[in-house]
Symmetry: C2
Subunit: 217 residues, 2 copies
């Protein structure tokens, strides 16, 4: 019974996601869905993207249970930011993204970055109609996360290993992490990053530029 | 409609939680529900508790989407550990805890520690029948988390601020964090901790001993 309810919700979500995807395709807009634990560095990685891909016309959709902290920060950088407060919901849904897209002039955009709710579980199950999925793993979280949250690691196109500046102080085995990720998702790009000191930001921006160029065709 | 389904699930969960709570009360067992983001240090804090409250008869219930990494670690320390793999579910439920309690000899225990699924959202909504709720906030996650996940911060009896050894390297404003927590939950105990170097572990163990003593009466 409970499983049936969940199946219905996911089927209905997938149908709305397909509509979002088709709408973006018509306007040649790339949409990247960024997922991570709370505090792994989603907002900081978006800030690095805004600083680094200045040539692209961007907008950001911010998903949070509560607060507008992140969208205020992004708007201050001169980029349109739409805040979705989910109330109690632990993930964004395709319908929430449809509502956000209604506020954007898609013809004048190249790239939309979605910051999903901080959570390594349910966001991986809900297709938003995105072009690509990116997750961030912070080295402060430990290298065992691929074993504990396998669906998230399987579902993404790129994994940003953030806060590598903390590596000397954390018991994070980078080789072990790479091995675990390769076992779950050998096709994923794995990019090391430190949003704090900027290390790896150039490769992250290159990845975004490449994803956007593929959509623009 | 969706809200009604959620209400039904929560009402049914609360009823099972009440049965768990009464069952523990009859045996004078304290049960602590530990919640946090992935990688904030739940398992490490449990390890510190096992090392520091040697006089108490303990068992651990480990909740994870997948893997048995944590329960294997706890068992190796000579403490009974029951692993619950939730499959896709992003939180433990009272019914899962009832099943785990069936495997334990409650008459021979003083303290059960539950490690919930790594998630700052849904675990806060699901009463498990616990005596007390503890959350861990890692300084690597940033000091703005109380604004973004207010329910979790409101619902707990104690907050462990873990990884304080990383403070010199993180943009974490401790005073700002304390102020935000005081606004949401002035009654919560806020304990600074570094599981890595042991700083604050004595106060964390004192807190657990005190919570257990209150149940033992």
């Amino acid at each position: 019974m409970k499983i049936e309810i969940k199946k219905d919700i996911l089927a209905s979500n997938a149908s709305v996601a397909a509509q979002n995807r088709e709408r973006l395709r018509r306007h040649s807009v790339c949409m990247v869905n960024m997922m991570a634990s709370p505090g792994a560095g989603k907002t900081s990685a978006i800030v690095k993207a805004i600083e680094g891909v200045a040539g692209l016309r961007m907008a950001v959709i911010e998903g949070d249970i509560a607060s507008e902290i992140d969208s205020v920060l992004i708007e201050a950088m001169g980029v349109t930011a739409l805040q979705i407060n989910t109330g109690g919901s632990c993930h964004l849904t395709a319908t929430m993204i449809t509502s956000a897209l209604n506020y954007l002039d898609l013809g004048s955009l190249d790239l939309i970055i979605i910051e999903n709710v901080g959570n390594l579980v349910c966001p991986a199950e809900f297709d938003l109609g995105e072009t690509a999925r990116v997750m961030i793993a912070s080295v402060a979280e430990g290298h065992d996360k691929p074993y504990k949250y396998p669906l998230m690691f399987r579902e993404v196109d790129a994994i940003l290993v953030n806060k590598v500046d903390l590596l000397p102080l954390c018991d994070f085995d980078l080789a072990h992490f790479h091995q675990a990720v390769a076992g779950l998702n050998p096709a994923a790009a794995v990019l090391e990053l430190s949003c704090r000191d900027g290390l790896g930001a150039d490769r992250w921006c290159d990845w975004l530029r490449s994803a956007t160029a593929q959509v623009a065709g």
